[in-house]
Structure formats: structure tokens, C-alpha cells
């Protein structure tokens, strides 16, 4: 029983850690400039919730494209072969 309980806790801890890593993609580094700031800007300008949701989704897509583009640049300039 005790062992099972410990396993449960460790699984939850793993889940929390994974969430921390996923959150980092959308809150730090490139995300501050290309995801967070545009979202905050739109929120201050647009009151229509549906339009805001659509635009937020577009920002998310654009951010992911920028992220992939930066990863491509990293590979172009640092991959040694």
C-alpha cells in the first residue's frame, strides 16, 4: 500500500515537471516577444471575445511557425555535418 502511494506521488511529480517544461515554451524566451506581448496588446485593444479568440489562435499559430523557423536557423548554423 505504501509503495503504491509513493508511486502515485512520483507520477504526479513527473506530470507537474512536464507541465513546467511545456509552460516554458509559451511563457519564456521567444514567447515573451512573439506570443505573450501580442496577446496582451490584443486583449487591451479588442473587446469582442470571439474575434479575440480567433486572433489569439492566429498568434499561437504564428508563434509556432516562428519557433520552427528559429529551430531551422539553429540547425542551419550549428549542425556540423
Amino acid at each position: 500500500m505504501k509503495v503504491k502511494l509513493q508511486l502515485k506521488i512520483s507520477k504526479e511529480e513527473i506530470k507537474v515537471k512536464n507541465n513546467i517544461y511545456i509552460n516554458q515554451i509559451f511563457t519564456e524566451g521567444l514567447a515573451t516577444t512573439f506570443y505573450q506581448k501580442p496577446k496582451i496588446f490584443l486583449k487591451s485593444k479588442i473587446k469582442n471575445t470571439i474575434l479575440l479568440k480567433v486572433l489569439n489562435f492566429l498568434i499561437l499559430i504564428s508563434y509556432i511557425i516562428i519557433l520552427l523557423l528559429v529551430i531551422c536557423i539553429i540547425f542551419t548554423f550549428t549542425f556540423p555535418l
Binding site: 513546467i20 517544461y21 516554458q24 521567444l30 519557433l67 539553429i74 550549428t78 556540423p80 555535418l81
Partner: protein, 494 residues
Amino acid sequence: MLEVISIIENIGNSYKYAKEIYDILGLILSIIVIHKTFYWVIGLLFTRKFKHTKNYHKYAIMIAARNEENVIGNLIDSIKRQDYDQNLLTIFVVADNCTDNTAKIVRDKGCICYERFDDVNKTKGFALQFLVKNIERDYGIKNFEGYFVFDADNLLKKDYIARMNDAFEEGAKIITSYRNTKNFDENWVSSTYALHWIRSIRSNHRARSVLHLATNIQGTGFLFANELIKDGWNYTSITEDRAMTADAVSMGYEITYNDEAEFYDEQPTSLKIALRQRLRWSKGHLLAFIESGPKLFANIFIGKLLIKDKEKKPKKNFKDYLNAIIESIRHRFASFDTLVQLTPTSVINIVRFLICYVIIFSCYRYSHGINNLNFFAGGTLLAKFINNFINWRITIEPGMNALLISMIVVLWSRIFYRIGKYIENIWMAIYLFIVEDSRIKKIPLRKKILYIFTWPTFDIIGRYTTYLALFTKVTWKPIPHESKVTIKDIEGGN
């Protein structure tokens, strides 16, 4: 004369074999650094986070100072301003060969100061060794759970020690931190250093911390557990940080990085001082490779076989065996990674280039002549761009002219390749300015553009100081620090 020609022809005849060796060596050097590309990608996205804790540990703070009266007071103030129980912090300063008021300032601020005068053993490593001996004598090493090391020109953010304590509480034994720059925009020299530290974070520290490997200690702004100096401070070379990193990795330690713990450092602004410092780093780098390289290389194959001090946990079940295998792989890869970092690849590259191309290829051209040789050759983007517009080809009959012109063209192609690489490296500065926008101090756009273009000089200087370090005797000389910036100026508030 005939003998000389015969020698040239014989050397030229070995070109095909030399080229094969050249290519194989190049392939090996490329393969061993492939993982660095993935470090860059991990560094773009992730860093290891530590849970904030209220369980505070007792630390000693060690500062080696030589004539640092201008800055030492500001560092001590920033330590006293920490949101951490001050009863758990003891500041130890070694006033090393000081001829100014450093010791007086330290004592006036209520810290413990040991004065050391030694004209022979001048490195920071010897100063820290002296300090550790004194702490052992007067307090005992085990009296403190961990030891911080700072340079006198550092300034700590208010939550620096609390954040480092988070990592320590989670069991990390050696922890480095985010190195920001006080004088980022003072001039182009300081900006290249500042960008270099950020590059290290993005390209090494973050990924290694996520993967639980061992990142490299960088002179200052790190914490280690007391067990590492139970036999005293043994790193007295001109770059004690590299020696300590290599030693810790050999002993199986993980060296982690805490992105939330941030401190500020003053960078050189004079090119002369920067060159002196870089020459010292290069020499230390080479020495660390010679001293620790064989041990790290052996570790890749034998794992933790020779490590006696580490506790060996009894294996009870499958999970324990699995953990032991993972730990063994981790340790072997960390050893490999540290060895790769210490390997002077630039020296290997220039030697193989000089032998294969400048000598053997040119001799080969003596017999075969130059046939349609591209003047703007090379795999850089610049070469590809220029080849779209200019198509200069060289053809010369066999003979001495072919040999001499081949030598000149080969050397030119190297310079042209480096120019191409210089331009390509600009991407890194743009990338760092964007991803670290929230932490880099606000700088006018025109200055940022200037620093983007001057940034690649950092690696060029490193390349040539490494070549120079092979033939130069380097002594440790202090780097002057004069910045009057305080942590209040940076953070604001009281």
C-alpha cells in the same frame, strides 16, 4: 635542386592519402559536436526549474579580491540585501596581495577578511586555497553546508541566494547561475563578453541542466556542497574553474544550472585587457585538456569504476538496476561532453589544414598544376552568394608557380572561409538579443546593431589566443574593475 624537387614531388604524391585522413578527422570532429545542436534547441525552449523552498541552509560566501576597493563594498551590500536569513550567511574575503583599502572596507562592513601576500603563487586558485585553509582552521569546513564563490565585481539580485538554495535543497551539489552584465553597453568589447555569457547559458547550461548532465563552472557565481572541499581547495591553475569542472565530472558529480538565480558581473572594456584575459583562458583551457583529458576519456569507457568516494547503494529491484544503468550512461556522457568542451578543436583544425592543404596540396599542384581552381571556394553562405555573380577560376601549368600560387590561394580560401563564418555568426547575436530581451538591459537600437556586427570578434580572438597560448608562457594578472554601479542602480528601490 633536384633533391628539393624530388622531396616536393614525394610530398605531393601523398596528397590523396592526406586528404582522406583530413576528411576522416573532420568527420570525427563534426560527429563529436553533433549533440551541441540539440543543446541549442533545448536551450531555446527549456531550462530546469527548482521548487521554491523555505528550508534555508547555512552557507559560506568566498570572495577572492585583489585591489578591489572600488567594487567590493557594492558586492557585500548586495549580499546583505538578500531576502535570506543573514545568520545563515558568512562572508569570507581573501585580500590577495592588496595594496589598497580592500581589507579595511571588508572589515568595516562586518565581514571576515584574511590577508595574503605571495609574490610567487599569484592565481585566484591559490587565493581560494588559502581562504579554504583558514576557514577550515577557524570554523571547520563542515560548519557550512555549501560554499558560494564570487568575484569582487559581482552584484547579486535580491533573491539570488534564496533561488540557489532551492536547487541545493533539491540535492544539487554544484550549481551555476545566470550571469548578466553590469556594463553591457559600455563599449563593444564588454558587449561581446556579455553576449558570450548569454550564449553559454543558451547553448550549454540550460540543456545540460534539463538533461541532468554537468555544465561548466565559469569562474564566479556558483555554489558547491562542502564535501567537494573536504580535502581542501585543489584547483590552483590559471583557470581554476575549468579544472574544478573537469575534476567534479570525473568524480561523477552533476553540475546543474539555475536560471532564476541571477547575478551581475563587470566585463573588460579595454581590448588590451580582454586579449590578456583571453590568452589566460586559452592557456588554462589547454592545460585543463592535458591534465583532465585522459581521466575524462577513460571515464567514457569505465564509467564510475574508479570512483571510490561515492556511496554505492545496494540494488534491491529492477528499478534500482535501471537507475544504476541510467546514472552510468549519464556519467559517461557528461565525461564525453566535458572532454569535447575541453578539446582544442581549433588547434587540431589549423594543424590538419596547414599540413594537408598549405603543404601537401601545394606540393601536389607542383606536379599536376592548377586546373580550374575556384577563387571563391568554401561552403559558407557568402561563398555561395558570390559564386552566383563572380566566377573566377585559376589555371596554371605544373611547376614552381603552381606551388606558390596554390599556397597563396589556399591561405586566401581560409581567410575567405573565416570572413563567411564571421558574417554567419551574426545570427547568434540577433537570436540572443531577441530571446533574452527581458533580461538584457535596455540598449538603444543603434548600439544593438553595432554589437551584432562586433559580436563575432569574440570567437576570432578566442581562436588566435588559443594558437598563441601554445607557444606563450602565461601568468595570472588581475583584471581591473572600476564600475561604480550598485545593485540598487540596476534593480531600483532601496
